[in-house]
């Protein structure tokens, strides 16, 4: 089956070709069969490959397709590599991807006030892009060299751009200010970016990160003379001895790419705006798969990071800082999808903290569980949006639990998993990360546990406001209804995964089997001198675990207290800390900061170049000036041409006489 792994990429490409070229002709129903079917088939191929890999104990199988480019000593083949890491990613991408495709077949059908269903205007275009994303993501994870990783890296970026901007003609939306009660000025919110602007922002911010990634790839080539993973990693230890500065540079440059793609400080700004895309896109790309590419990259090239401990520490610090920072913003967001978006940024921070402290398995574990529960939460949010005609402001929801039972229950499950409620999947993975972080730096752990508390709080804040209490907008409430089977199907399957996903990596210290630990062994390069693992005392581990559990439960309870028992508290609190509240509500003014510091000066510089330097100085002064100079000189000489034939003839005669006299007199 491993030899057929190219099918996982070829099938979605086939799907996108069919839907892209003939989508309008074959009709939307056929489109909505083909697109999920291709992903399902790819998933099945992935399952086959999984058994293959398990069969030969994780040894990598390389499938050579063709040679991409050869120039002198630069040679890059198009190879696919099947090993535990790539198969894991393939299964997550196609598995969650399939569910989301199924979900989308119902989500992209809008029902109007009279209960009539209408397919989205560009139904087939949506599924074309969605299949394109799956194919790109698989290129990213299956390539056996850095070039293919970079190719996939860019392609997922463009799929994301296309899908965020899918509703390209929608304008930007104003947001209603947050009311802080009587006698207090409401906190005004910035308008939401239009989908087309959001898509562009995502692509460009990603590209800034890609510059780092590309330079990292160039540095790898000029150091190792190859881009193949196995050759590069085999040489890495040797290189780090002969050229100690190179590996940290490579690690840092590649991480810049990860910062962009995985939305870490300072390049996280695109992800919240990416919510302008359709919700399945947010679930698939901006929660479950694409944004975790950075984590995958670091796990894949773990040897660089193990050889560059200072860079790894930087990764961990940036990760944890992002986790904390994004969580604070999520506390006050009023847009359900944005709460989840900041939560995604925050959870990605956890993953980077994990891989930064060398806990690659823990990072991958959280990547997987996060894919399940965050996809679930987004799809739940989408289901709510669908029921409420695209209203996503939680201040207009309330009491939805009676109207949409399945959505409500599954959303709860997702929320519990995200909050790290004991025995849910998120609990195990988050706990493993926090334990590993604690072993390296208790300070980072402290921020981690604070973040965990905030996570539990903001998740349930959203749940209580949206699903419980009294309806705030009766009209919307009246029209709300449970979503159709494709949507609830995806929700239920993901909910099951969100509950039981934790069995992949049960805590080792409780002597439970940790499947992932041994599974990823083959792709993790053990350093000869780094034998000491972070083994902590049983008591410490248990204490940490109990602390996480307690923090999660108290976060949930605090949310219950604030939003169910004493709903006046949050508003009063916000009023008394108005500056802080406004700061959070405005996302620390980071977007405005970037705009003033980078975008506007850039545009101003451009304008100065275009209107000043280019037009006035270079063109009009130098180029046309030179022409004018010659023109003026010529104008002076042209005075000699007086137009009288006689004088021309005279000049000729004089010239002849001078010439003849020269010959005679010399």
């Amino acid at each position: 089956m491993s030899q057929l792994i190219w099918l996982t990429i070829a099938l979605p490409i086939l799907g996108l070709l069919i839907n892209g070229l003939f989508g309008r002709r074959i009709g939307n129903r056929v489109v909505s069969i083909i697109a999920p079917l291709m992903v399902l088939l790819a998933f099945l191929v992935g399952v086959g490959a999984l058994f293959d890999v398990m069969g030969h104990e994780g040894e990598a199988v390389t499938v050579h397709l063709w040679t991409w480019a050869t120039i002198g000593d630069f040679n890059v083949p198009i190879n696919l590599q099947v090993d535990p890491l790539s198969v894991t990613m393939v299964l997550v991408v196609t598995g969650v991807g399939f569910l989301i495709h199924v979900y989308a077949t119902a989500y992209m059908v809008h029902s109007d006030d009279h209960g009539h269903d209408h397919d989205d205007r560009d139904f087939s275009r949506f599924f074309t892009f969605l299949n394109l994303f799956i194919a790109s993501m698989l290129v990213l994870v299956l390539g056996d060299n850095f070039l293919m990783m970079y190719v996939g890296w860019e392609l997922v970026g463009v799929s994301s751009y296309l899908l965020i901007g899918y509703w390209f003609d929608r304008p930007s939306e104003e947001q209603t200010p947050i009311d802080l009660g009587p006698n207090t000025e409401p906190v005004k919110l910035q308008p939401l970016l239009s989908p087309s602007a959001s898509g562009m922002k995502a692509f460009i911010v990603n590209r800034i990160g890609d510059v780092g990634f590309a330079l990292g790839v160039f540095l790898i080539w000029s150091t190792f003379g190859t881009l193949q993973f196995n050759e590069v990693f085999a040489e890495a230890v040797h290189v780090s001895e002969t050229m100690p500065n190179v590996i940290p540079w490579i690690a840092a440059l590649l991480f810049v790419g990860a910062i962009g793609k995985s939305a870490q400080i300072p390049l996280y700004v695109w992800l919240p705006d990416a919510m302008a895309g359709p919700t399945p896109v947010s679930a698939l790309i901006h929660a479950a798969t694409m944004v975790t590419a950075g984590v995958y990259m670091i796990v894949r090239s773990n040897i660089f990071y193990s050889l560059a401990p200072e860079v790894s520490m930087g990764v961990a610090i940036i990760g944890m800082a992002t986790a904390f920072f994004a969580a604070t913003i999520a506390l006050v967001q009023v847009d359900l999808k944005r709460v989840l978006a900041y939560s995604t940024v925050s959870q990605l921070g956890y993953m980077f903290a994990a891989v930064g402290v060398g806990a690659y398995t823990a990072g991958m574990f959280h990547l997987i569980t996060h894919a399940f529960f965050k996809a679930l939460l987004f799809l739940g949010a989408g289901s709510v949006m669908h029921a409420l005609h695209d209203v996503i402001d939680i201040r207009r929801m309330g009491g939805l639990k009676d109207k949409m039972k399945i959505t409500w229950i599954t959303f709860w499950i997702g929320g519990l998993a995200l909050a790290g409620f004991p025995l849910m999947s998120g609990f195990f993975s988050k706990d493993e990360i926090l334990a590993n972080v604690f072993a390296v730096s208790p300070v980072l752990w402290f921020f981690g546990i604070l973040t965990a508390g905030m996570t539990a709080f903001y998740t349930f804040r959203a749940i209580f406001i949206a699903f419980h209490g009294k309806p705030r907008d009766l009209h919307l409430y009246e029209h709300a209804h449970e979503s159709r089977p494709p949507i609830t199907f995806a929700l239920i399957v993901l909910a099951v995964l969100a509950i039981f996903g934790g069995v992949l990596g049960l805590p080792v210290f409780l002597e439970l089997p940790n499947f992932l630990d041994g599974w990823l062994e083959p792709v993790l390069y053990a350093l000869p001198h780094a034998a000491e693992e972070h083994h902590m005392a049983f008591g410490t581990e248990l204490t940490l675990m109990i602390t996480s559990a307690v923090v999660a439960v108290s976060g949930i309870f605090l949310a219950y207290f604030f939003y169910m028992l004493q709903p006046s508290i949050p508003q009063n609190l916000a009023r008394s800390t108005r500056p802080l509240f406004a700061l959070l509500a405005h996302k620390y003014w980071i977007d405005e900061l970037y705009d003033t510091l980078i975008v506007q000066p850039g545009l101003k510089l451009s304008r100065a170049f275009a209107d000043g330097l280019d037009k006035v100085v270079i063109d009009e002064t130098f180029i046309d000036g030179t022409a004018r100079l010659f023109g003026r000189f010529g104008g002076m000489l042209s005075k000699l041409q007086n137009g009288y034939t006689g004088s021309y003839a005279l000049a000729t005669f004089i010239g002849v006489i001078i010439m003849i006299s020269y010959f005679f007199l010399r």
Partner: protein
């Protein structure tokens, strides 16, 4: 024989069209299509019979021309010129078809000039004799200037005069330098010159400058670029396709064909300067493109940026850079040609190219929108499409020689994304601009052209070795020439 045929077919075709009565529009069009298609067909064996892995010229032809002065008719191609010849025959056909309805006035002369332009440009790419080359080089100016001057926009005369005087002024010094070479060696045959010339380094430096000036105006390299936006905005669509697609390549190609092999000792002296200008061009062109309000001007400035990559690869990238540069010439021809063509499709219907006149038209013209996006992606350098291969290889090669230049160049691709996506957003996305309610989507002819162009973009993007296998021997030899001389200079 093929190469001479390629020069002759368009010339003979032009003469034939000259005898067609001027009211026979359809006959003229079909004749022009037939002739350019024939040229394309004749040029195909160049690819299929080209021998891989062999350095040196192929399809060579040497005949005495002015024997008294030892000037010969010597044509031939190698990996550097093969794809440029193919690009020329391909883009000329595309240009002729794209003018189907756009040109109504003076169609006969228009087609004649198109064909003469093709002949001259092919002549430039295949000439291996300095004087023959110079002849074609200057000859190519005339039809282009006339195309701009007669069928152009409002300021067409200004643009045409600027184009012709600017580029001609650039090449006068080259003529002087060519004469110096001729006097020194007694022949103008390029391979003989390369193998026998033994000039002092100082003389090489001076002569290199004279040649490079002509080429840099043509490329155009910052700050010699201002003729380009003017020429592009005024030129008719097909003129822009030819100008950006093949005429600019004459400059970058000539660096590789003449400046470097003839004056290898001067390369080390001048390349820091050229690399700096190329980097400035990449960043500056991108920034200026960002704030244009005319779509065509934006594409024109993007050409300045993209051509900067080619110069960067030529002068700093070793063999990888040079191969990438040759490939990027083809890439730029395809993707920018396609962008100009697509802008032309809109212009033909709306008679405006201002961003403010468009917006949200993707709803109305989905086929056009798809091709526009693909063209933009190709130009932005997205993997899977052609632009990526060239840029990646150029930057990779540059990095191992000059990491700072590579870093700045890589930053250029961020700016490329910025201005091209801004353009996409302004034209295709956002709320629908009602002024476009009568806009029609591409017809079969237009969609066919776009499909042909994008097909090659994908082929090059996925299987670049189809080209690299043929380009590499030539660039390997060049890279060796340079590194040999830098080694000697270093000792």
């Amino acid at each position: 024989m093929i190469l001479s045929l390629l020069i002759l077919i368009p010339i003979v075709g032009a003469i034939v069209i000259a005898f067609v009565p001027r009211d026979q529009d359809n006959m003229i069009k079909w004749l022009a299509v037939g002739i350019t298609a024939l040229a394309l067909l004749v040029s195909l064996p160049l690819y299929f019979n080209f021998q891989d892995g062999v350095s040196g010229y192929q399809f060579e032809e040497i005949r005495p021309w002015i024997p008294a002065l030892n000037i010969g008719y010597h044509v031939g191609i190698d990996g550097l010129s093969l794809f440029l010849v193919l690009l020329t025959t391909f883009l000329t056909l595309i240009s002729v078809i794209s003018s189907w309805t756009a040109i109504t006035d003076g169609l006969k002369e228009y087609m004649i000039f198109m064909l003469l332009l093709e002949a001259a440009v092919i002549g430039v790419f295949v000439s291996l004799d300095l004087f023959l080359y110079y002849l074609f080089w200057e000859a190519s100016l005339i039809p282009m200037a006339l195309l701009i001057g007669k069928w152009g926009g409002a300021r067409r005369i200004y643009a045409a005069v600027k184009f012709i005087i600017y580029t001609m002024a650039g090449s006068t010094l080259m003529l002087v330098a060519a004469l110096v070479l001729y006097v020194n060696a007694g022949t103008s045959d390029l391979p003989t010159l390369v193998s026998t010339l033994n000039l002092s380094q100082n003389l090489q430096i001076i002569l290199f400058f004279a040649f490079a000036l002509a080429f840099s105006v043509k490329v155009p390299l910052f700050p010699l670029h201002t003729w380009l936006p003017t020429a592009h905005t005024e030129a008719p669509t097909a003129g822009s396709i030819m100008l950006a697609g093949v005429l600019l390549k004459m400059g970058t190609y000539s660096y590789l064909r003449f400046a470097i092999p003839l004056f290898p000792d001067a390369v080390a002296y001048w390349s820091p300067m050229l690399v700096t200008l190329a980097i400035i061009g990449i960043l500056y062109g991108a920034l200026v493109a960002l704030v244009q309000d005319d779509v065509k001007k934006l594409v024109a400035y993007s050409s300045v940026a993209h051509m900067g990559f080619i110069v960067l690869g030529t002068f700093s990238g070793g063999q990888q850079g040079m191969s990438g540069a040759v490939l990027q010439m083809v890439n730029h021809g395809l993707s920018t040609g396609m962008l100009f063509f697509l802008v032309g499709v809109l212009y033909e219907q709306r008679h405006t190219r201002l961003f403010s006149e468009y917006g949200g038209i993707w709803v109305k013209v989905p086929i056009f929108g798809t091709y526009f996006l693909l063209a933009v992606f190709s130009s932005v350098g997205l993997p899977g499409l052609n632009g990526f291969v060239g840029e990646f290889v150029i930057l990779l090669g540059t990095f191992s020689v000059n990491p700072i230049a590579a870093a700045l160049g890589t930053f250029g691709i961020v700016l490329a994304a910025w201005y091209l996506l801004t353009a996409t957003r302004k034209v295709m996305m956002g709320p629908f601009n009602e002024a476009n309610r009568n806009l029609k989507d591409m017809n079969m002819r237009e969609a066919g052209i776009a499909f042909a162009l994008i097909l090659f973009c994908f082929i090059i993007g996925l299987f670049p070795n189809l080209l690299f296998d043929k380009i590499n021997p030539a660039t390997a030899q060049l890279a060796e020439t340079i590194s040999a001389t830098t080694l000697i200079a270093g000792q």
